[in-house]
């Protein structure tokens, strides 16, 4: 009885979370002309037409590379700045940490629409228009607060005596940071890095505004290019979506623990 109950509950969770993915995949393997037909619910035969259409489109591959480069670049910068900043807040500041943490929260939660044009002007001034740098710079700004929140939490969990011990052992703050806190904060770094990577992978508005060619476009914008004058090639869109969801599924599967830790860490001081 309870077994059935458990199974039922799990079924509900599964159906609720996974059904859209399954439907996306089902749509993506339908023959293009049959996509809008329902019933039948399931395709009579599988078709790779939508996928081959994407892979024949070399720009989409470029777009995927862009996303990876932007994601890694912005994540690297925000990890360095954020890990250092969190260390500073957690171990060097006596007061004012609440203000800094809350200002960072404000940055994290700022409506993107409100700053997109001024940011574009800055990007333009720097001569970064339509380059990966513009996205790397802006994404760094918006993922730094995330990294700081997670890393602050990670550092707070390290006993304060380690900091004092290292000072007694004659280390400079930089040595303490690199040799003690950074290695101990690796789980936090992994978590916040993943969060930042996912943020960069998913962001749409800035990418749309700052880029004008395949040189710098990222995946969400790339997907928005998949359409005809009026029609949505749902087959191709769902195929592309399935493709870009795939790495995320991998990330989630292999680093679920870190992601959860990061999410929880960013939220709560333990």
């Amino acid at each position: 009885m309870t077994r059935a109950l458990h199974a039922g509950f799990y079924g509900v969770i599964l159906l609720w979370s996974l059904w859209p993915f399954i439907w996306q995949w089902v749509t993506s393997v339908k023959v293009p002309s049959n996509i809008s037909r329902i019933p039948p619910l399931l395709p009579e035969h599988l078709s790779a037409a939508n996928y081959s259409a994407i892979f024949s489109n070399e720009t989409f591959i470029r777009v995927i590379w862009n996303s990876i480069a932007v994601g890694l670049g912005a994540t690297a910068i925000s990890l360095v700045v954020g890990a250092m900043g969190a260390y500073g807040i957690s171990r060097l500041l006596e007061r004012g940490r609440r203000w800094i943490m809350l200002s960072l929260l404000v940055v994290l939660m700022l409506p993107q629409v409100s700053v997109v044009t001024p940011l574009y002007r800055i990007v333009d001034l720097m001569g970064w228009g339509d380059t990966l740098w513009s996205l790397i710079a802006v994404y760094s700004i918006f993922s730094v607060p995330l990294v700081v929140w997670v890393m602050y939490q990670a550092y707070e969990e390290i006993p304060e005596t380690l900091h004092r011990a290292a000072r007694v052992d004659g280390s400079s703050e930089w040595t303490i940071f690199t040799r003690v806190y950074l290695p101990l904060g690796i789980p936090g770094l992994v978590s916040s890095g993943l969060l930042s990577l996912i943020f960069c992978w998913n962001e749409f508005l800035f990418a749309l505004t700052f880029t004008s060619s395949y040189k710098a476009r990222t995946i969400p914008v790339g997907i928005s290019l998949f359409s005809g004058q009026y029609d949505f090639p749902w087959g191709e869109i769902t195929a592309a979506s399935s493709l870009v969801t795939f790495p995320i599924i991998l990330i989630v599967i292999f680093s679920q623990k870190y992601l959860v830790r990061g999410l929880v860490g960013s939220g709560v001081k333990g």
Partner: protein
């Protein structure tokens, strides 16, 4: 040399005075225990000596050299923390090498010193293990090894034994004492545990209200404490404190001054079974080596050393030697 002078040291946290014009002299090579209740400022004092914090005012001298404004990095002190603060991501060997690497010594020198310490502290078998694989005693040795390796001016200990179980604590105390003898360095050891203070200290400084209340060999503090708080702090069962009237009841002699307090340690108060005795046993605490009995004197219950076979409600008579009486 390793002489430390602390002069007129003041420290505040959040407008609360933690150290109040504190003076302290630590002699070369001595094992000084700073004893006090939690929150009396003893850890603050230790941090100030180490240079981990900057005092509000006052001076700290190392061998007459003023180090008050010096950074911890330039003071060459060693600090052993309550939780040992071993770097969990480094092996035993790396933990010990870490301070040397900070000094930017060459590799051969580091290897040499490190090997010396590992051998001396019998840590060779564990050199590649991580702290969480070590026992409490091994951890302490690593922490001390990490402190020793730089040949520091002074060793500072912040209650490193307090979180251990009693057996291990006894054992490590001995080891520490032994080490002190070998190293011939100045040790400052902060604790709230009177037993550690008695066992370890060449001298004990009792700290309260941000000041050193009394300093001297442990027995001196035990036998002739400067005030009631110190008297109360030492010994188990705790010292009996009597008002003048109760004292008169107990001893049958008149008290010199009605405002005085009279202290007598339980082990110095003999309670013998005596059918004519004026006190009655309330209950008995069997300690194995000795039995302590609790008796009522006036409204107070005091404790004394039971002699002979005793049982509840038995009449006893109490005696003590006058030299054991402490009057405040």
């Amino acid at each position: 040399m390793g002489r430390i002078d602390v002069k007129n040291l003041c420290m505040e946290y959040n407008q609360k005075r933690v150290l109040d014009r504190l003076d302290l002299e630590v002699l070369h090579g001595e094992f000084l225990v700073v004893l006090g209740e939690s929150g009396c400022g003893k850890s603050t004092l230790l941090n100030l000596i180490a240079g981990l914090r900057e005092p509000f005012s006052g001076q700290i001298l190392f061998d007459q050299r003023d180090v008050t404004r010096l950074d911890v990095q330039s003071r060459n002190v060693a600090f052993v923390f309550q939780d040992y603060a071993l770097y969990p991501h480094m092996t035993v060997e790396q933990n010990i090498r870490f301070p040397l690497e900070n000094l930017k010594l060459n590799r051969r020198e580091i290897d040499h010193k490190c090997d010396g310490i590992l051998t001396r502290l019998r840590l060779n078998d564990f050199r590649n293990q991580y702290p969480n694989q070590l026992s409490g005693g091994q951890k302490q040795r690593v922490a001390i090894g990490r402190a020793m390796v730089r040949d520091p001016f002074v060793f500072l200990f912040d209650e490193p034994l307090s979180s251990l179980d009693p057996h291990l604590r006894d054992h490590l105390r001995l080891e520490l004492k032994q080490l002190h003898k070998e190293l011939k360095k100045t040790f400052i050891y902060v604790t709230h545990d009177q037993l550690s203070a008695m066992v370890l200290g060449d001298r004990v400084a009792f700290m309260d209200d941000g000041k050193i209340q009394q300093i001297g060999p442990p027995l001196q503090l035990y036998r002739s404490p400067a005030n009631i708080r110190i008297a109360r702090f030492f010994g188990f069962p705790p010292v009996n404190v009597l008002t003048a009237t109760d004292f008169e009841r107990l001893s049958g002699k008149p008290a010199p001054d009605s405002k005085m307090k009279f202290c007598i340690r339980p082990e110095n108060l003999e309670c013998r079974a005596d059918s004519k005795g004026c006190f009655e046993v309330q209950w008995i605490q069997q300690m194995g080596a000795a039995n302590f009995v609790y008796i009522s004197v006036g409204k107070q219950t005091i404790c004394g050393l039971g002699k002979g076979s005793l049982h509840k409600n038995q009449k006893v008579s109490c005696n003590f030697k006058s030299e054991n009486l402490m009057i405040f």
